[in-house]
């Protein structure tokens, strides 16, 4: 049947290129494999040539798939399920890329795309390593191509295809309106497209500029871990031990820098757009991306040990294999849906668990098998490392890094453990503390090692040399720590003095790292920028640690509820961290007086911005924050809030909306109660009391309006609220042309409505009093103060710069050696 308004060509092209990519990557893998295995140079070269053609075909296919899918999203072709599910007409152009990688298919494509770019560079640069390394990369491309294939092999569906049509996706199965004769068993109406006016839009939480940039960087980081892995494997495969470390080192550094920055961009996104009040929550998805980075850093350090001393080559192999292995494992964790309850932001299960698990095993098992079979062949040095040598302590540091990664992934894998053993173990009461209480010691050890180790020499260090060099930075660090101890406080007392002490210890060690490594640039390498990559990266690492420690432990909730009526509290310390602001009423919050001024709506979306005015009590500054919230978005009840923050150089004030007055409940259901009052009488209401000041009668009124004998009563009333505010209103009652008319007076902030209903002959009045929430417009918000958060972001940037400097130097060194030999 032909349907009206469908554009089928892009989809058909897409399907074609997916199949082509599947075939081309398989051919490339096979040809590179033959090229590697071939003992005859000529034959090897021929296979290699063929493999290159295949890989370039693969690159073209992936680029084509990428472009077609983007074309579909960009042109709002909602006949395609992917566009319908992830985008909408109102989506801004910048978020079209974000919605491209919102889904599993798009993010696999992104990964595949980076493999293509990396593959092309490898073909150009890796010379004799090209064949074995590209065998691995091409095979990974094949594995990724199967993820988006959507092909049925005997009833088993392999991958999910991004070009599937909406009408084939099963979405209409229960939509009788779109079928002939309103019967779901009948075919679809030919003009069904006329009912599909818009797509589902991008998840509002992802409508943030970090979501445009964070996934590509993160996936470049993930994708690039395959290169050191492939080199390590190539070394084992070809039995050329050690030599592969030269080209692998700059790749490892590249991967570490990009992955590190990618992870921290995710942290910034979480900080700026999620409302769990921070940049890191030890969420499984975060952990799963951090762990490969930790292992990669271990691998880079053991590789450096090998380069300078010949030790630790075995460990380097293992670490590079595992770094990529953990990338695959985290792919499995986050995409299989196995995390279920324990993660806030994992992908949902697309029924690809088997395939994802195979993806993991097909790389890790053979690699580990090869590693253990060749283990004895990998050269080592029998002589023991001297404890005064740099390599000894570097190895300990790498090991601590690696083990901390194992501990983190072990804890994160609880759902997997439950699945395998059928247990029902859940994370402990304070899951974050379970991580923090351990990692703070890791931080202490690593910071200390990072500070000291650069002052040790490879092989052996003379005592005199070491102490002489390290004396100045140590004294400097002690002085700085002393100053900090004297003038700053760390308020994290809720976990007891031991943990507080550990935080202090870690703070001091981080300062030591910063000072010692910064000094080393002058003391050790005489200020040479070219050589200082490592030291700069270590300074950055120290700043990251310091930033994390201070911002997390001194994080402070400043929106303590003081305005509302205290509710009966349970035992223990209950969070009372949300503050309700009634429109136009000033509230105290920390050093600010804040006022909810009103809201404005996004022209196209159900997105509201709330204007909250901050005025510091000393009168020195005033500013307005605009946290926003998607309200009842796309038929979903409730709020999805995006925070807003005021940035200072040394702290951020961070606020977001937790609830708003329900616009639907504005029907006023409360009734007036009546009270008789004489002037001077008082009357209580739920939040204070009021006093009738006097009763005035005005007689000389215009006859044309009031008629003869008309009168107007005025009753000034003073209202004393519990919160200390005093309000004055004047209620009026008019008697005109024989009718009584009165207008209710509303005191919004007290949710109080008053009406002068009757004046009795004895000069008393009947006052109607109504208390109703409907008169109030309010928001509830939560606000934090994050001190020294910039130190963290700045530290990340410095670390990345340092790593990149090292990488450039290593590439230059390799080139020099390459041309020399």
């Amino acid at each position: 049947m032909d349907y009206i308004g469908e554009h089928l060509l892009p989809g058909q092209l897409g399907h074609f290129f997916i199949v082509l990519s599947l075939v081309a990557s398989l051919v490339a893998t096979f040809c590179y494999f033959r090229s590697t295995q071939s003992k005859i140079d000529d034959e090897s070269a021929r296979w290699k040539k063929l493999a290159r053609y295949a890989f370039i075909t693969e690159v073209v296919s992936v680029l084509a798939i990428f472009s077609i899918l983007f074309y579909i999203i960009h042109n709002h072709l909602f006949e395609y399920h992917y566009a319908w599910k992830h985008s909408s007409r109102s989506l801004e152009f910048k978020y079209m890329l974000a919605c491209f990688w919102e889904g599993q298919e798009g993010s696999f494509l992104l990964w595949s795309f980076w493999h293509c770019i990396l593959g092309l560079i490898l073909i150009k640069s890796s010379k004799k390593w090209e064949a074995p390394v590209m065998t691995v990369v091409s095979f990974a491309q094949f594995a990724l191509a199967t993820m988006i294939a959507g092909i049925y092999i005997f009833n088993w569906k392999m991958g999910t295809n991004p070009f599937i049509l909406l009408r084939d996706s099963g979405v209409f199965d229960n939509a009788p309106a779109l079928h002939l004769n309103l019967d779901v068993n009948q075919p679809l109406r030919p003009d069904y497209m006329s009912s599909i006016k818009d797509g589902n839009d991008l998840n509002p939480l992802l409508q943030n500029y970090w979501m445009v940039i964070h996934p590509p960087v993160l996936f470049l980081g993930f994708a690039s871990t395959i290169v050191p892995f492939a080199f390590a494997l190539a070394g084992l495969w070809k039995r050329i031990y050690g030599e592969w470390t030269k080209p692998a080192l700059p790749w490892g550094l590249f991967s570490a820098a990009v992955l590190g920055v990618g992870i921290m961009m995710g942290a910034m996104w979480a900080y700026e757009s999620l409302t769990f009040g921070g940049y890191w929550a030890w969420d499984p998805v975060e952990n799963a991306s951090l762990v490969p980075w930790l292992v990669l850093i271990s691998g880079i350090h053991t590789l450096l040990i090998y380069k300078h001393s010949g030790h630790s080559l075995r460990a380097t192999h293992l670490f590079f294999i595992l770094a990529f292995g953990f990338v695959l494992y985290s792919t499995f964790l986050t995409r299989s849906g196995i995390l279920g309850e324990s993660s806030v932001h994992a992908f949902t299960d697309l029924g690809m668990n088997f395939q994802l698990l195979s993806f993991l095993l097909v790389f890790v098992l053979p690699a580990l098998l090869l590693f253990f079979r060749r283990y004895k062949e990998i050269p080592t040095i029998q002589k023991e490392e001297n404890t005064s040598s740099r390599e000894f302590w570097m190895f300990i540091g790498s090991l601590v890094f690696f083990l901390s990664a194992i501990v983190i992934i072990g804890k994160t894998s609880l759902p997997v453990f439950n699945k395998i053993f059928g247990t029902k173990i859940a994370p402990p009461e304070d899951a974050e503390y379970a991580y923090n209480s351990i990692q703070v010691y890791v931080a202490i050890i690593l910071a200390l090692l990072t500070a000291v180790t650069q002052y040790l020499k490879y092989k052996e260090t003379g005592r005199g040399y070491f102490w002489k060099k390290i004396l100045t930075p140590t004294i400097l660090a002690v002085i700085l720590s002393g100053l900090l101890f004297a003038f700053a406080t760390i308020n994290y007392t809720k976990k007891g003095p031991v943990f507080l002490g550990s935080i202090w210890m870690a703070v001091i060690c981080s300062i030591y790292t910063i000072v010692a490594n910064a000094s080393y640039i002058w003391l050790g390498i005489k200020g040479s920028l070219r050589l200082s990559g490592g030291s700069i990266a270590h300074v950055g690492f120290g700043m990251v640690l310091l930033g994390i420690l201070i911002s997390s432990s001194n994080k402070e909730v400043i929106s303590n509820n003081i305005g509302g009526i205290p509710a009966p509290l349970g035992e223990g310390e209950d969070p009372r961290e949300n503050l309700t602001l009634v429109k136009d009423v000033n509230m105290d919050m920390g050093k600010y007086t804040i006022t909810y001024l009103g809201d404005s709506a996004h022209p196209k979306k159900q997105l509201s911005y709330y204007r909250i005015h901050f005025k510091s009590k000393d009168g020195k500054e005033e500013f307005t924050l605009m946290p926003n919230s998607f309200v009842n978005y796309k038929g979903n009840e409730g709020l999805m809030s995006n925070p807003d923050a005021r940035h200072y150089w040394n702290h951020d004030v961070f606020t977001y909306i937790t609830s708003i007055s329900n616009p639907d409940s504005e029907q006023d259901t409360a009734a007036f109660r009546h009270a008789n009052l004489k002037p001077g009488d008082s009357l209580f209401y739920s939040n204070g009391f009021l006093i009738l000041q006097e009763l005035k009668r005005k007689d000389s009124l215009p006859v044309e309006i009031f008629g003869p004998g008309g009168s107007l009563y005025e009753a000034p009333i003073k209202i004393f609220s519990k919160s200390g505010s005093v309000y004055s209103v004047t209620s009026r009652l008019a008697v005109a042309k024989g009718e009584m008319m009165s207008l209710p007076d509303t005191i919004t902030s007290e949710s109080l409505v008053l009406r002068l209903q009757k004046v009795n002959p004895d000069n008393s009045i009947e006052l109607g009093v109504k208390e109703s929430n409907a008169v109030m417009k309010y928001i509830t918000l939560k606000a934090y103060k994050f001190p020294y958060i910039n130190l963290l972001w700045f530290g990340v940037a410095i670390t990345a710069i340092g790593i990149i400097i090292s990488m450039i130097r290593r590439i230059q060194l390799n080139r020099l050696k390459g041309s020399g030999s």
């Binding site: 209409f172 839009d201 083990l403 009461e429 509710a567 409730g638």
Partner: protein, 149 residues
């Protein structure tokens, strides 16, 4: 034995120790019955909101107080007290993971995790399928919203 091997063993033993202590402090996923059976112990309660019972939350009186009744798949229900703001999508959430402990006849909840169709669009589709007679639930509100502007 080399010193580095000793260090290796000590550190690995440390890591294993850490993981074992973690398992000891870990909590469990529970139904209401099993949670009531161990009062005072921190558990993860798997339940949903009982919509036939009142939900009490007044942001003006106290934005940090929410009570409601939770019901689990076995039909057992319990009163829940939560001293924090009402979570997003609370009412439409299909499942709640309530972290807290049972005490004095009510469940003192420290943290609520909502499982919402909105965050998980794929799940939304499945619910659509389960409710007979619903037409495509998603595009409709958008279209009407678009008409407004």
């Amino acid at each position: 034995m080399k010193k580095i091997h000793i260090a290796l063993l000590v550190l690995i033993a440390g890591a294993i120790g850490v993981l074992l202590t973690f398992l000891k402090t870990a909590s469990t996923y529970d139904t209401i019955d099993t949670a009531i059976a161990k009062p005072g112990k921190f558990v993860h309660l798997m339940a949903r909101l009982d919509k036939s019972q009142p939900v009490e939350y007044d942001a003006i009186k106290n934005p940090n107080y929410l009570t409601f009744t939770a019901i689990d798949t076995l039909g057992k229900s319990v009163k829940v007290v939560y001293h924090n703001a009402k979570p997003d999508n609370f009412e439409i959430s299909e499942r709640l993971v309530l972290k807290g402990k049972y005490q004095d006849g009510k469940f003192e909840c420290k943290d609520i995790q909502t499982k919402c169709p909105s965050k998980y669009k794929e799940e939304m589709k499945i619910t659509d399928k389960n409710t007979p007679g619903t037409s495509i639930a998603n595009p409709e509100p958008t279209n009407s919203a678009e008409k407004k502007y």
